[in-house]
Amino acid sequence: MTEASSSQHRQAWDLIPWIANGTASESEQRSVDEHLHDCADCREELEFQRRLQRAMARDSAPEADATAGWARLRERLDADEVPSVLAQLAPRRLRRAERTWMPWVVAVMLLQGVGLGVLGTALWSRTSANPTMATAAVGAYRTLSAPQPPLPPATVRAVFAPTMTLAELHAALAGAHLQIVFGPSDADVWSLGPAGDSTRAATEAALRALRTSSNVRFAEPIGGAP
């Protein structure tokens, strides 16, 4: 074999798998075809690789449950979103109750379309509040010298069942036209404000709506509200 034909042989030999699987370019295909004409070794190798390919093509895939797989990925996305928002907004250490509750609060606020600026203010006021004022959380919140947050004043105080899901909370708040102003306090009391109308009648209607939910343990008006 001459030097030139030996280098041709090596080139063709390397290309054979991609001739076999049909992904070689036209010019590669042409040059290999030419070489095959004169080289029995390469012809035989191409035949062997074709056999190998056919043998490997047998489908041996396990059951692909895309729905279950997607559910797992979605959980991971959910779990990631809340802490990353928290990390941006509250780079300080949170107390235990806050670690437990804040992701929930953040998630609710996100669901309600509450702006992140508002969320930041709520977090700020919460961590600034004197922990001993837990049950008077709303009072503490109002007397802070912080800039006024663009949230309505709280008109309703409520306690929810610990088993209540996020979706249920969302539904209950939507049904009562309320939004979370602050919470939960260490005693698990949430302070809620009107999502729309802030009239006395609206507050009364909100209380009636809240009390129809079995997940609402307790709901009462705050201060001057009915």
Binding site: D14, N21, T23, Q53, R58, S60, P62
Partner: protein, 194 residues
Amino acid sequence: MTPRDDLHDRDLLRRIVARDRHALERLYRAYQPRLLQFLSRLCSQRDALDEAINDTFWTVWRKAEEFRGASRVSTWILGIAWRHALKALRRNGDIAVERLADTGASECQTADTLLNDERDQWLAQGMATLPLEQRATLELAYFVGHSCQEIADIMGCPINTVKARMFQARLKLRNLLPKLEGIENATALRGHQP
């Protein structure tokens, strides 16, 4: 994978960059079976496979904006899957392929399937002796059907490395699989390209 599919995939990626979860779900549902099919040829542990696929789409979600469009979306995703599979395999410490058990005993044992089972065993044993990179190269070429350049993109190595790995794998299988000759006529009836 036609150019039209790739256009569709690119559109999904753009929406993923804009944080559209529905787009991610569509991409996931389109690719999860394919990735599982490919990766299951390299590893028999289902947990490790699921983990690698989950990690793959996690990366797609976070890095979609880094897709430069030089390759097809399918190649890009397969490359991410390959890297995560390597990690998962190292973590789980098992790269043994045990496809032997796959050949169902309940199957009607005609002469052809007996012949195929025997061939599958030879093939599985032969493949199991190859280093992971060589095996993956072979699977990408013959099972998935990628070009040399695409395999280089997926595995993140030069084209010459792909050729060298393929060369080594072919040499070894040549010596290990003399039985592949002569009994493949029956396999042609059952084998198909996905």
